[in-house]
């Protein structure tokens, strides 16, 4: 199925929260219905997206919204899909760990790097950075700290160039 068909099919049930623009390659979904939509994407006979390849977080650039892109593939049917969700700082996204095991670490990484919170994740803590790190480095307005636990964070390259 191509993305247009998938979008039309989803719109019959979730017309409120599914958004698809003609010239894009992804479907935008509102976080409120995400749990039901994701369950349908995984279990419905027309979709069967059993392989969640990647979850990428991104900064929308307006200092309000942060986004997550899910890349799915179905190993039985063979089609692919990209789904995007965008939330502001005080909202959270329902976690899909129960459906796809690979979401576990990817969601933790999105939290670690971009500060996106996932509701219902069993172990929502940082994964690559240490637990006491301040801020979320991949946000565009992130300032590199001067010191981390008394150790200077090298910013200028005078000593090693």
């Amino acid at each position: 199925m191509n993305i247009q068909d998938i979008a039309n099919k989803l719109k019959t049930d979730f017309s409120e929260s599914v958004e698809f623009l003609e010239d894009t390659l992804f479907i935008k979904v509102k976080p409120t219905d995400w749990l039901e939509i994701s369950e349908k994407l995984k279990n419905h006979d027309d979709f069967k997206f059993d392989y969640l390849m990647c979850i990428s977080s991104y900064d929308c650039g307006d200092k309000i919204k942060y986004g997550v892109a899910y890349n799915f593939k179905s190993t039985s049917i063979g089609h692919e899909l990209e789904v995007r969700l965008e939330v502001s700082d005080d909202e959270s996204i329902p976690s899909v760990v129960k459906l796809w095991g690979s979401a576990d670490w990817h969601e933790r990484e999105a939290f670690d790097m971009m500060g996106i919170k996932f509701d219902g994740h069993p172990n929502m803590k940082r994964i690559l950075l240490s637990d006491d790190w301040d801020g979320h480095p991949l946000r565009k307005d992130y300032d590199t700290p001067e010191y981390y636990r008394g150790m200077p964070v090298p910013k200028d390259k005078t000593y090693w160039e």
Partner: protein, 377 residues
């Protein structure tokens, strides 16, 4: 070895720390192992010791300057990282490459696959106590590194495959030396096979241990030889042929459970060994068909893709490498996310280790073939 039934005797839970400085964790990985006696109940991998903000760096570098950084991600298969990244940029720019570039890329990628799998198989043997095969594997890998040194001057971090082409054409005699290497290597691989694959002690330690069922494998996003060990024929070179892989005749080996159950550690090792043979097959065909041409013909003067995003996938030695790039029309990526195969392969670790003994944890971790540089990025 058999899986232990936890319900028989219950002792007090003990938390054991392994790593980050431990030879069997294949880098700086720390494992918090919850055990009951000697039986493992849960493992928490703790990583990030090698984190060097690859993705943050990329947001400040032009598309060409990112290539050397991809080298450092998977340092055992740098060519694959170069190739995967270059392919994703080319997909954004919509570049048609000269045939010769594609063939050279396939040749170096398959040589790299052999080198990487040799380390994986050799080190896996070392993990369970077989020292001799490890030295043999590294001896043969050294020859491939010599070939790469001849190609681009570097032994591990090549910066060879660039968006739109290559840094250099092949040096004179490279094809001849590669042929000589293949002639030398094939009997050596048989010897390696003889000493390790069906070795009684090795089979006892690895067969029936740490089984990944196909459903668990797909659900956790496990890819590469680790998934093919579970009997699923998922290989991007065959399923969605990129580059010129559709012109070669090769098989995708999958685990059959010859020594035990499908998807055990032995199967994953066996798939890697068979893949080395397939790589040799591809190399022989690619060398025979190598066309002439100018490798710099398609190099763009300026890499400046239009607005949009791309997710491209590549079959590296460890599995499915994905590059998700968002471009806002500048010459630097707005956001670059790398889907690391070893990261996803490691996430299944706790799931499959439950109920096994402490000594099997080392075996299972070795069979996943992780590279921490790529997990931590």
């Amino acid at each position: 070895m058999s899986k232990q039934d936890k319900s028989i005797i219950k002792a007090e839970e003990m938390v054991l720390n392994m790593g980050p400085q431990h030879p069997s964790t294949h880098g700086v990985l720390r494992l918090k192992i919850h055990t009951d006696g000697e039986v493992v109940s849960k493992i928490e991998p703790i990583m990030g010791y090698l984190h060097r903000c690859f993705e943050k760096h990329c947001e400040n570098l032009s598309y060409e300057q990112v290539v050397p950084f991809t080298d450092r991600c998977d340092y055992l298969a740098s060519m694959h990282m170069n190739h995967a990244y270059s392919m994703s940029v080319e997909k954004m720019l919509d570049i048609e490459l000269p045939e010769r570039v594609e063939y050279i890329r396939v040749i170096v990628a398959e040589l790299q696959r052999i080198a990487s799998h040799l380390v994986a198989c050799g080190v896996f043997g070392l993990d369970v106590g077989a020292i001799t095969p490890f030295t043999w594997a590294l001896r043969d890998r050294e020859r491939i590194l010599d070939l790469f040194e001849m190609l681009c001057g570097a032994r591990l971090l090549y910066n060879y495959i660039w968006p739109g082409g290559l840094s250099h054409d092949l040096p004179p005699n490279f094809i001849q030396y590669t042929n000589e290497f293949l002639d030398y290597f094939e009997p050596m691989l048989k010897e390696f096979d003889n000493v390790l694959t069906e070795n009684m002690i090795f089979v006892e330690r690895t067969a029936d241990v740490g089984i990944i069922t196909p459903e668990v494998g797909v659900n956790f996003g496990v890819t590469g030889p680790t998934l093919r060990g579970s009997g699923i024929s998922h290989d991007l070179r065959k399923d969605e042929p990129y580059s010129v892989y559709d012109k070669f005749d090769f098989d995708v080996p999958v685990g059959k459970g010859i020594m035990g159950t499908v998807g055990d550690c032995w199967d994953r090792y066996w798939v890697r060994m068979r893949e080395i043979e397939e790589s040799v097959k591809i190399l022989r065909q690619a060398i025979a068909q190598l066309p002439d041409g100018d490798v710099h013909a398609a190099r763009p003067k300026k890499v400046r893709p239009g607005k949009g995003e791309v997710y491209s996938r590549y079959e590296s030695a460890r599995g499915d490498v994905g590059f998700y790039i968002i471009s806002d029309g500048k010459n630097i990526p707005y956001r670059l996310k790398m889907r690391s195969p070893a990261f996803c392969n490691l996430s299944v670790f706790s799931e499959i280790s439950e109920g096994w003994m402490m000594s099997d944890v080392i075996t299972i971790l070795g069979s996943l073939d992780i590279v921490l540089g790529e997990i931590d990025r």
